[in-house]
Structure formats: C-alpha cells, structure tokens
Subunit: 441 residues, 2 copies
C-alpha cells in the first residue's frame, strides 16, 4: 500500500464509528479485511476489539483464522470471557492452544463451563455493564454510582439486590429521578422484574425480548443472584444467526458449514445425511416407475410429464409446508390443532383452485401437442389429484414433526420433496395405467 493511502486509511479508521467499520468489513475481501484489521489493531486495540465483537460470527472466525497467530491471540485476549468461550472451539487448534496458555486458571474454568453448557444458551452474550445496588441504599447513592460510571457504559436501569446479591427489583434511571434523594430503593423499585435465567436458550431469550419490549434484561443464576444483563442488540444478532440457520435447514444444509469454508469434506459431511435420504427415496421412485414399465411401453408419451408432475406437486407441497412450519414457529398455528385444521383446509381449498387452473392449462397443451389427444385428459386428471394430495402432505408433515418434538422447518426441505416424488409419481402412473388401453385406442 502506498504510504499516503495508508495514512488516510488510518485516519478513516480513527474517525469511524465501530459499527461502521464492522459494516464496511463485510464489503471487503478477505485480504483487505486482514490488512485493515492489522492497521486498526495498531492504532486502537480497544476499537479493534469492539469491531471484532460486532462482526458476524463467520466473518469473525474467518478473520481470526487468517490473521497471523500472534495477532489473533492478542486480539482474542481483549475479548470478554463469554465471547472467548463462544469462539474458542471454532478456531484452529494451535490458536486455541496459544490463547488458553495465556488465560488464568479461573477464566479457563469459566470458559469450559460455558462451552459445556452449550453454545445455545444466553451465557455467551451476558454482559457486565450494569449497576446493582443494595435495596437498603438511597436514591442519592444510585445517582452517585451512575455519575461515577456513566462515561464507561450506558445505564438505563438500576437493579436492586438484597444482602445475598439476589435480584429484588428494577427501576429506570428516569423514574428514579422523580424521587427525593433520601428515598430507600426498596420503597420505589418495581418488584415484578422480568429476569432471564443463565441457562435460558437463545431462542427463548428472543421470544422474551419480543414479548416484553425492554432494551435490557437482567440475568440471574438458580438462586436468583444477579450475574449480568443481556442487551437487545445482541439479541438482534442472535435472530439473524437463527434466520440463516432456518434457511439452511430448508435446503437440507447446516449453518455450521459457514465456519468451515475451507474444509470441503466437513461441509460435504454435513450435507450428506439429507442427500442419502433423498437417494433412498428416489430409488423407491425408480422402483415404482419400473413396476409401471408395461404401461409406459404401451404409450411412451406418458413419461414426458413425469418431471411436470413432480415439480408442480413439489411446489404446492413446499408452500403448504412453509405456511404450516412458519405458522407453528411464529405462534400463528397452535397446539390446540383447531388452527392447524383451519390452515390445512385453507391450503386444500387453494390447491383446489390452483389444481383446476393448472390441470386445465396442462391438459389443453398436452391435448394439442401429443398426437393422442386423450393423454391431455389423463395428465389433467392426475395433476389435479396430485395437487390436492400434495397440499395435504405439505401441511401435515411439519405438524407431525412438531408433535414429535422435531423441528418443523426441516420438513420443508428434502423430506417433503422426496415424499412428494414418491406419492405424485405413483398417482400419475396409476391414473395413466387405468386409462392406458383407452389411450391406445
């Protein structure tokens, strides 16, 4: 890099908001990220640390893997214990070793505990920027505390605790101002404080934040001792991770593969199970087709429409499955299965209308195109019944998965499509067999 460029990059990094730098990072190539980050580390290690925290997990890990190991170790050590726990399992072995060597025994234990409790709890996003004050203290003491630390952290609420550090209430800074300075905290706090448990899953935390509209929620241990807070903006990151995960599931892929961008075999291994499921399913399809060989031999054009049947009913089925799966996940479709039945009936009605239109179009085109006009009628009939059944299958499978305590989203991918091929092609060829003699006449 030219010296002048280097200087101006330095100046930009100095001036820019950490959120902006993290945002710009997503637009840089891997090399550019590494170079820029090294400069940032040189001019402001604290800002570099904040930027690293802000990056999406896959970019963060990629950066840590690409940086020289000495730099990686140095920047990881600036992160909070919780954040280190979140990534330490996913970095190369030698970097892991280098970091662990530098940590104190106590911190190492805490990291192990977080890892063993599963990356899916909120533990890894607990922050320690909060004020907790004994409930016997007064408003004056609260304000003194706020003044002392307001330059280092953003304070919105003050939490009150008893002598054993157990959470007893919460009051917003704005509210506290309206009381005389000698008021005791315990007389003014809101005792219905909503708190998360340290082993709450990230998903549950998202739901709780959505439900109560607080920007920050306290976290307590099993004895209700206050141990930290969760910020809603960390929940935003959780949501976008979860969303990506859901999308991947729909295609029978797994989100973890983003962390292994350079490990082709690991990625292939993650995807293989659903592939094998599809292969087995499609062998069943192949076997079914082979049993209809004589029908096909009698009138070959039947098979021209095999992919049409599979594709159209697959499409109908996916739509029904997504509407059901999303309905379950967003709470629109309920356990009491009244809503589920209503959704299913709606899907069947929609399929009926679409089935009529589609089978009419396809039937007419087939009628005109294929020399034997009657094939048009067979195709239309088969398509119509297929579409109806596909809507039922698509609606049912996610609901069954859910009732079996499985993730309904998984059902929207390979399961539905494979099942549909089997059912759809069987119906189509059966209808064709019934009419084949008639077709030949």
């Amino acid at each position: 890099m030219h010296k002048a460029n280097y200087r101006s990059l330095e100046r930009v990094l100095e001036k820019a908001h950490k959120g902006d730098i993290a945002y710009i990072f997503t637009y840089l190539s891997r090399d550019e990220r590494v170079k820029t980050f090294e400069i940032l580390m040189k001019i402001d290690i604290k800002k570099a640390s904040a930027v690293l925290s802000d990056l999406e997990e896959d970019i963060k890990l990629d950066l840590l893997r690409t940086l020289p190991i000495k730099e990686s170790t140095r920047i990881i050590l600036t992160l909070s214990t919780n954040e280190i726990a979140q990534i330490i399992d996913k970095v190369p072995k030698e970097l892991q070793k280098a970091v662990l060597e530098k940590l104190e025994e106590e911190e190492k234990e805490k990291i192990e505990e977080i890892i063993s409790s599963g990356a899916d709890t909120i533990k890894s996003i607990i922050k320690e920027d909060y004020i907790a004050i004994n409930e016997e203290e007064t408003v004056l003491e609260c304000l003194a505390q706020v003044k002392k630390i307001s330059s280092q952290m953003e304070i919105i609420y003050i939490y009150s605790v008893d002598n054993k550090n157990r959470l007893t209430g919460v009051i917003s800074l704005a509210e506290i101002l309206s009381y005389p300075e000698d008021t005791q905290l315990k007389d003014i706090i809101n005792k219905d404080v909503i708190a998360l448990k340290e082993d709450t899953s990230k998903e549950e935390a998202v739901e709780i934040f959505k439900r109560y509209n607080f920007p920050i929620l306290p976290v307590v241990d099993e004895e209700r001792r206050l141990i930290g807070v969760i910020h809603i903006y960390d929940i935003l990151d959780v949501i976008s991770e979860k969303t990506t995960e859901e999308f991947f599931k729909m295609a029978g892929a797994r989100e973890e593969e983003l962390f292994y961008t350079n490990q082709i075999f690991k990625v292939a291994k993650l995807r293989l199970p659903w592939m094998l499921f599809a292969i087995v399913g499609e062998f069943i399809t192949a076997f079914i087709i082979s049993n209809f060989s004589s029908t096909i031999e009698e009138f070959l054009p039947i098979i021209f429409f095999l992919p049409m049947v599979a594709a159209i009913s697959g499409n109908i089925s996916s739509q029904a499955a997504i509407i059901t799966a999303r309905g379950i996940l967003t709470g629109r479709i309920m356990e009491n299965y009244k809503d589920f039945i209503l959704t299913l009936i709606k899907e069947i009605k929609v399929a009926f209308v679409l089935g009529l239109i589609i089978s009419l179009i396809v039937g007419i085109v087939a009628f005109i195109w294929i020399i034997n006009h009657k094939l048009g009628i067979v195709v239309a009939l088969a398509l119509f019944s297929n579409i109806l059944i596909a809507s039922v299958v698509g609606g049912l499978i996610p609901y069954i998965m859910y009732k079996l305590n499985k993730d309904p989203t998984i059902a929207t991918g390979p399961i539905i499509l494979t099942l549909n091929d089997i059912i759809g092609i069987t119906i189509y060829l059966s209808v064709a067999t019934i009419f084949v003699h008639y077709l030949k006449v």
Copy 2:
C-alpha cells in the same frame, strides 16, 4: 362461559403483563381470542389497545375482522395514527368506513400520507415518546422535564434541537447526570447523532439498528426537524415479519396471503405466477424428453432414474442458491465479486465430493438392480456431471438476480428448481443417448 370462569378470566387479564396477554393470544383459537378480547376491552380499554398493538399483524387483522364492527371501530380509534395507517387498508370496507368517519380531517390526511408513502417505510412505527429540548437550555431544565414525564414513558436519551426544531445532538440520561445543573445542553451533547429519515425503509432501519447498537434512534424529516423516535423492539417485529416474507418467497408464495386467510381466490392468484413459470419450464422439459423418445424406447430403464436426477441436482442447486442468497443478504458475499467467486468455487468443490459419493452409491445400486449392468455406469456419469452443473447454476442465479437489482431470495425457489429440471434432464438423457448402443449390447 360460567360466571366463576368469567370472573377468574377477568382477574387474570387485569393482572397479566400486556406482553403476556399478547403472547397467550397466539395460543388461543379465533373464537377464544374474540371472547377474551371483548372482556379485556370491558375491563381496561388502554391495556386492550396495548395488547392489540403487540399482536402479530395477521392475528391483529384477524381479530379486528372477527370482532363486532362496533367494537373493532372503538378499539382501532384508540391506536396511534401511525398504527391505524398500517392496518386501515387491510380491514373490511365497512369497518374502514366506520373508522374513517370518526377520525378528524387532520388525522385522515396524515393516514393517507403514510399509506401513499408505502407501508414499507418506518413511518408506521414512529413513536412520539421522546424528550426534545432546546440546546440553549440547561441540564436543570432537562431533569425537570424528565421528572415531569418519566411516569408515562421510558426515557433513555434526551435530544437537543435548535430554534427551528432541527436535531442538533443527543445525550443519554445517565451522562447528563454527571454535569452541573447550569451546564448548557449544547456544550455537552454528542453532535454525531445517528438519525433515521422518515422515508427510510424498514429494511434499512433494521440494518442501521444492527450496526449501531442503540435501543432508540431519532427520526428527522428532510429539513432535519425531529419528528419522532423508533424503538428497537418495533424493529424486532419488523424482522420477524421480514423473515416470514423471505421464507414464503423461497416457495414462490407471498406473505400477503396471511392477510387473506378466508379469500381463497386471492391467495391462489398470489401463487399463480410462479406456478405458471414452473409449468412453462416443465413443458420445455417434456419437449426435451419427447426428443429422446428413440433412446428411451431402445432402453426403457433409463427413465427410472429421471426423478432421481431431478431431485438430487435440485437439492444441490437449492443449497448453493441459499448459501449465495443468504450470503448476499447478510453481507457475507460482496459486490466486489471476489467473495462470490470464492463461494462458488467452494460450492463446486463440495459438489465434487458429494457428486463422487452419490454417483458411486447410485451407480452401484443401479448396476446390481437393473439387469443391464452398464446402466449403472451411465447413471453415475450423468449424475456426477449434473451435480457439478447444478452447483454452478445454484450459485450463479441468485448473484445474477442481485446484479439485476432483483431479490436474490426469489431465485432460491421455483426458478432454480425449474431450470435444474431442464438442464439436469437434458444432460442425463444426452449421456444416456451416447451410451445407449453400448447399453443394448
């Protein structure tokens, strides 16, 4: 309902947090929702209004449609102008009329303006619970204001404005406490205030909230006059709406259909365009197959594997498409297309490994099963080349869509699957044709 049940329901509704009531609503059937809501309206209309605001949009609309029109009108009129604007277009005509009749001229105009500016801007979620103070004023004045209104709204920041009500800065309540009471606001405010424009789209707002980690952001008009604030928890709701939308897009469905649960023809109409796309595509597939009729007649078992070819390459393709589309949307894959090429190469490598495994398995099974063993080799060869090409197609299409300024998620649904059927089946039958004489020997 028994009188005793009614009483206890009343008591529960009185005591419960509005977030909890809204949450419980998602678990009730439609009838139960209507009954419960009517009781809630009777005992506490303000709480009923807050619960209504908190409901997911489709449940909210469903409730408003199912309530007696008098009750619906009454509760809608308790909502803020912004919220009314958000729903008025989606309720039945007679309810719409009843509400508009009761509104003042000024409010009607504002609603029309919001509607015409598009439901996709942040206008509909702008709130007015903020404190703006002239920058010439002092800390003392700020604290007086906070004390006056802290019981009605949660105050985290104080915004400073000039004489023309233009936003000049921001300071957190915690920070302001550390300054002497006679300090002028303009000497202590943070002037690099991040503000949203009133015509910012909801998507952009989500990105900005993710980037800067503030629980609240101010909204300004084109002359930088402060007109309101956006809360991060309203952004949470936007995100969950957008997520559902994205999922629907993947299946060629549209989220709007949730608002028309009882209007089957409207829903069918929303889904039809992609269906027609698939139909045209599959007619092309049918035409291609018809051109290979002589090959198929020579050796019928070839067609047993048509669905297998379509399904496996469809699966590979969807995965590549989702990884690319999500990568583009989350910023992992960049405009500079270096990252895109890297992602594509990775997908091809993964496809290579999976292709080897899958074609080996399928080839061996076909080899053993079908009397003519050589078919196994043909199927394996065709599947392998199909899988490679599917990974390229899947990766390319979302990127091309993005470059054409179209939504890359749309590409992950029917487009990819249809294209894949056409390409996959052509390759498979071409390979089969090359080897068919060899097969017959």
